[in-house]
């Protein structure tokens, strides 16, 4: 059964500043419970880089020409271990030789280990930040792979959910998801992942990662809402592109590709060559990324010349609330208890 409507997100990489407020918003909202310490349902990685889990783009999964592809099972260490620190010993118990650090010793990987490492060679270095969550795909490889049928796609909004009561922790979903967006909880023995803040959306509140993003990076709404920014950016202007469309899962998270300052020639003079190599961008977003970047540049030039640009104005989103489609409720105004929320819906 396909969903009647699909909630989608557009993430603007030109506005993303890599601050990880989204990551933290998600952490304090959903993954602050037992066994979830090392989970980051939302990540922001510096591209180019290994990302999270480490080297996920080389781990397989998804489909090719419609056929499911085997995938590697990502390990916790590749997502980054949730180090605990010897704070008590170092600061309150007089263990002065051992200064404060991870109890498990020198780390060699973390979820944001590659932060600001970048690619290229100075002064033609390049980098940008790329936030990722579950793509709530139209063809979810995870759902296909679950032998238990424990993953479902909600009819009303296309959110892909793991039924944790039904999950047995087999983790075929972890392997099959080409984006490696599913985590395994070693305490509860089930797989867990981004729920697109379904409980918030149900109350008309934007996802935590969207609403709490100080960079105002994330547009949220229904894909078929022709008046909303998502439809405009994805279909009308075609500047919002899926990450790795070749995985064939049809993600519902889209990205505005990054611009960058000009690169330099041997003498250090700026030249009209893109700092971020086009073939690198194409390896992420497919061949449509070139025209998308050109359109962004052209529309910015229009603005600079004093002209109008609906595309630029949409991306600016002077009125922040315009970014979230129908999800405009302030969370503090939501009923505090579940009972009240149920009553509100019934009454």
């Amino acid at each position: 059964m396909t969903s009647k409507r699909q909630v989608a997100m557009v993430i603007d990489l030109n506005k993303c500043i890599g601050c990880q407020t989204c990551t933290i918003a998600c952490k304090t909202q959903w993954t602050n419970r037992e066994g979830m310490e090392g989970m980051w349902w939302n990540t922001v990685s510096t591209a180019p880089g290994e990302g999270t889990p480490k080297g996920w783009e080389k781990m397989g999964g998804g489909f090719r020409k419609g056929k499911a592809q085997p995938g590697k099972l990502p390990k916790q260490g590749e997502f980054g271990t949730a180090w605990n620190f010897n704070t008590d010993a170092a600061l309150f118990q007089g263990d002065t030789h051992n200064t404060l650090g991870p109890i498990t010793g020198d780390p060699d990987w973390g979820t944001n280990w590659d932060e600001d490492v970048g690619g290229g060679e100075y002064p033609n270095s390049f980098q940008f930040y790329i936030p990722r969550i579950c793509n709530h795909c139209t063809k979810p490889a995870c759902m296909e792979a679950c032998p238990r049928g424990a993953i479902f796609k909600r009819e009303e909004d296309g959110i892909v959910v793991i039924n944790e009561d039904h999950c047995r922790g087999f983790r075929f979903c972890q392997e099959a998801c080409p984006y490696k967006e599913i985590y395994y909880n070693t305490v509860t023995g089930v797989s867990q992942k981004c729920i697109m803040c379904a409980p918030r959306l149900e109350e008309g509140v934007p996802t935590a990662c969207s609403r709490q993003c100080p960079g105002r990076v994330r547009f949220l709404g229904f894909l078929d809402d022709e008046d909303g920014p998502i439809h405009k950016l994805v279909y009308k202007y075609k500047v919002a592109l899926a990450l790795h469309p070749e995985y064939e899962t049809e993600p519902n998270v889209f990205y505005i590709p990054p611009l960058a300052p000009p690169s330099f020639d041997e003498e250090g003079n700026p030249i009209d060559e893109d700092r971020i190599p086009l073939d690198y961008l194409e390896s992420l977003f497919g061949k449509e990324v070139g025209p998308a970047v050109e359109l962004l540049k052209a529309e910015k030039a229009k603005k600079k010349a004093g002209g109008e640009s609906d595309l630029m104005d949409t991306l600016i989103a002077r009125n922040w609330m315009d970014m979230f489609g129908p999800f405009t409720t302030n969370p503090k105004d939501v009923a505090r208890t579940l009972e009240q929320r149920v009553q509100n819906r019934q009454g």
Partner: protein, 210 residues
């Protein structure tokens, strides 16, 4: 396989108990659960080039005391896996038909369900599972199931117990009667889980002493 009537199965709780050694073992032939019967394409493609279910034989012994049955299942496993942390646990299950003639390989059907008592090295408790086909297993009716496992000398030995009587949709065993038993074994260190396992392709007949 004969299921002797003993005074109390409590005497057989320990997997390594000498009492078990006094009983004759029935060897059960094991095969990989067929790839074609895996519930979806992903599981098939990800295991098509990967060996699994390599266990060729498991060994069964059973006793009952009129109220409960104890089955000792034993198989070779050079590298035990408790499934701690991210590992997959070793596991085993004993299947019993609920009604009709369930196809063991197909995990039964809605008309002919089957019931398991399942053990996993990662869990203290055994559990009862009801299956009406591949990928359909749900918590089964409680039958007082327990499992007590021990690994030594390159072998797992697990003593399963359950009540003879079933409740709701579960298999009933009757002293003096006959039934069937099937076996599945998961090798955790080979990441075996779900349908990726070694199974006994055939039911083994059970004959309970009165």
């Amino acid at each position: 396989m004969r299921v002797q009537n003993v005074k109390s199965i409590a005497d057989y709780a320990e997997p390594q108990s000498a009492r078990w050694g006094a009983l004759e073992a029935t060897d059960v032939e094991m095969v990989p659960a067929p790839l074609g019967l895996q519930p979806n394409e992903y599981v098939q493609v990800s295991w098509e080039d990967r060996p699994y279910g390599l266990l060729e034989q498991a060994s069964l012994r059973a006793v009952h005391d009129g109220a409960k049955i104890a089955v000792q299942l034993s198989w070779a496993d050079a590298q035990p896996s408790t499934g701690a942390g991210e590992g997959f646990p070793d596991g085993a299950a004993l299947a019993f038909p609920v009604r009709g003639e369930p196809e063991l390989m197909l995990m039964g059907s809605p008309e002919a369900p089957m019931q398991f008592v399942q053990w996993q090295a990662s869990k203290k408790e055994a559990r009862s599972v009801l299956a009406k086909g591949i990928g359909s297993s749900l918590p089964g009716a409680p039958v007082g199931e327990t499992a007590n496992a021990s690994w030594s000398g390159g072998r797992w030995t697990v003593v399963f117990t359950r009540s003879l009587a079933g409740s709701g949709e579960s298999a009933s065993l009757v002293p003096g009667g006959t039934s069937q038993i099937g076996v599945a074994v998961w090798n955790g260190s080979n990441e075996e889980r779900a349908g990726i396992k070694a199974v006994s392709p055939d039911w083994t007949a059970l004959s309970l002493d009165p």
